[in-house]
Symmetry: D2
Subunit: 235 residues, 4 copies
């Protein structure tokens, strides 16, 4: 991986976003080995969209950090979940399912087909995107039915995978995108970088003031009752 | 086709349903060359689920027949739309879109993957179903997003297709299933016959008394107003 | 109506959009009594989003015009369908259902509740929007299940209505919004004008070059086959 | 509550199911004060559909029990979540959101409207169901968009609530139904009992053999590759 991604997976993703989105965004990175996994309150409070790539060491992400990220997503922060982060605590927390899937790492060709061509995440993307060699992720992918299904991948081994999926959770938006494995130079492909950039733009907060999750409202004032009682007094 | 399907496509489909559903169903067939395309009022009035296979001659189906079938579906009749009937007038009428797709007839292997394993249409079906040789149908398939996505197919040429899709329209249920082309013996495969039978059971009418489409209701009696005025009189 | 809407319903809607969207949009109007119902090829070719208000005389809209508008929507034009246009030919064409509903015109109070608070159509809108007096539209509303449900209305008579609903059809986006009846000054309410403006922004074309509906693609080049045969030659 | 529900909420629900479903079901009850909250492995292993009513003491349900119930749902067990159990650990776990809502307990009339009249959960149910006096639950209800929206309630105070909602999670089905509060005799109403019975029938496991949640599959055999290599050998 060090050869392919000398600045790490996080570096490659950050670099892609900076390259395509330019001054429109401020890109920062955090890594699991930092205190609080790099996701302190202060960091999250300055984050509109969080991209999450993780592999193998999901279990060692702190539960308190997962709680905090979940609250921020429910309050409006976008979350872009990448590749093996399907098994991250935060994704499983937001989905409620096992998020398990079929896989095989034998360098299959992957074709990513756009099944939602008017969706902003697919802007400027060819039909299909081809990845010459990649780990295979296949169905059954145990997720809640996507609210918007964007991409479906086929593999030269014959498998299929819902590889680009959108959900809303609370005030936040979540996008899962299955490329790319650390053993392949996928985040250097222009089409993949385009999807990452599109996804970040799509996932940005909307109608969000203070990133508070929805909360209980115990309102004292019935509305129809008032109106009708006024009407009743008239008659 | 005559060799492969000596009793016609309609005969093969009817035979599959009779074989798997037995005395639970009464299977009848209608063909386009019959008066009113075989779908008279009388015939439809005795039909709970209609399977529709058609090819090339969609345009010559009478509009009055399409109107009648649409009304019956909206009134609760199930509709199972097969293969090239994606371009039938009735399917396009119920979808509102072009229903166009990619295709290529070069004997690809098709693998049909189950992405909804707790759905009754997938009962008893292997993962995946393999069709050795078939016409390729691919994305983008111009349909409204399926309310339930059941099957996705891959092809040895690399394409992908949402090959099993559910919608509700009015009181009726619609299932599209993309196998099988007349040049291949697909409706003789046990797994495909199983899907056809499952689909017919799933599509049968529910909560339907007289197969009337939903209609306008101009009800004279406000409810909260009455209640509140009663309450008002009490006080 | 003439008192309440001296420039017509179309004038009031156009005026709201101009007021809120300013130089960002060019607003034009068309009326049913114009040649080709005001919706010539030339007019549609210059239209990104079409708002449609209609009442009672739906049947006299020309079928050729409906065909043309449908093609343009499938090609990417946004469509905002308002109030009694639930019965317009174009809406029924795109939905495939009767679009019937319950109604009663007795000046009910309507409360419009936002059930999708991170959706851009709800930006800047209070919870709920109150309309003091309005025609009641109620369930069952015979539409395909909305892909995104945005607003639900309650009425002082007790009824409920899915009053703000989103769908994609082809490359285009469709929003139905049930206010406002011509007998009430609803399009003068700031909150309603805000929804109209939000809806137009949401419905604008994305990823659209030439407004062509999706069409059949018969591609000659299998992809996995090619790759695998290369691999085969190696061994 | 003791007067209204002398055998407890669980007793009333069990009684309704026994009355309507008769010999078709075996009904058992479990309560939170039992060891392992009454939901031991042995109990769950004999349960096809679990109804869950809970109030106020959600926090004291053991996390290990919630884990176990979640695994069983993902493995195929149906879950019917009732009223204030919107805040149960298990529902929040499966939804991934806060599940917060608006509420007010002032004896509003609630009308439950059927917006999915061909759905089996609505079989035999009047339009609307009226509850004379009930706690108000209102929007915004912070849940993932229901995969099938069945019922929407209005209240005499003017509020609205998505009161009947379906989701699939793993191999299991989940139905949330917002009636009934312990202070009102709602589970004695025949229409409500009908919905409970319908929901249990709908939620029963389908295509489930051993109630195992979906799991990772690392299959060794590529399929298209094999086929193509065979073809390659021919040439």
């Amino acid at each position: 991986m060090a050869e392919r991604y000398p600045s790490g997976m996080h570096g490659a993703i950050a670099s892609a976003l900076s390259e395509l989105l330019g001054d429109g965004v401020t890109v920062r990175t955090a890594t699991q080995d930092q205190p609080e996994n790099g996701l302190t309150d202060d960091v999250l409070n300055r984050t509109d969209v969080l991209t999450w790539w993780g592999h193998a060491t999901h279990a060692s992400v702190e539960d308190a950090v997962v709680d905090r990220v979940q609250q921020r997503v429910l309050g409006g922060m976008g979350l872009v979940v990448l590749h093996s982060a399907h098994f991250s605590k935060i994704f499983r927390r937001l989905m409620g399912t096992t998020c398990s899937l079929a896989w095989r790492n034998s360098g299959d060709t992957e074709l990513i087909w756009n099944v939602n061509p008017s969706h902003p995440i697919t802007a400027g993307v060819p039909q299909p995107i081809m990845i010459n060699d990649h780990e295979m992720y296949g169905e059954f992918f145990d997720i809640p039915a996507p609210e918007e299904l964007i991409f479906i991948s086929t593999f030269s081994g014959g498998e299929v995978f819902r590889s680009g999926c959108c959900w809303r959770r609370g005030m936040g938006k979540v996008f899962y995108f299955s490329p790319g494995d650390q053993e392949y130079p996928i985040y250097h492909q222009p089409e993949i970088k385009q999807v990452l950039a599109n996804a970040v733009l799509w996932a940005q907060p909307e109608n969000v003031a203070e990133f508070n999750p929805p909360s209980v409202d115990n309102s004292p004032a019935p509305i129809f009752n008032d109106r009708i009682s006024v009407h009743g007094m008239r008659s």
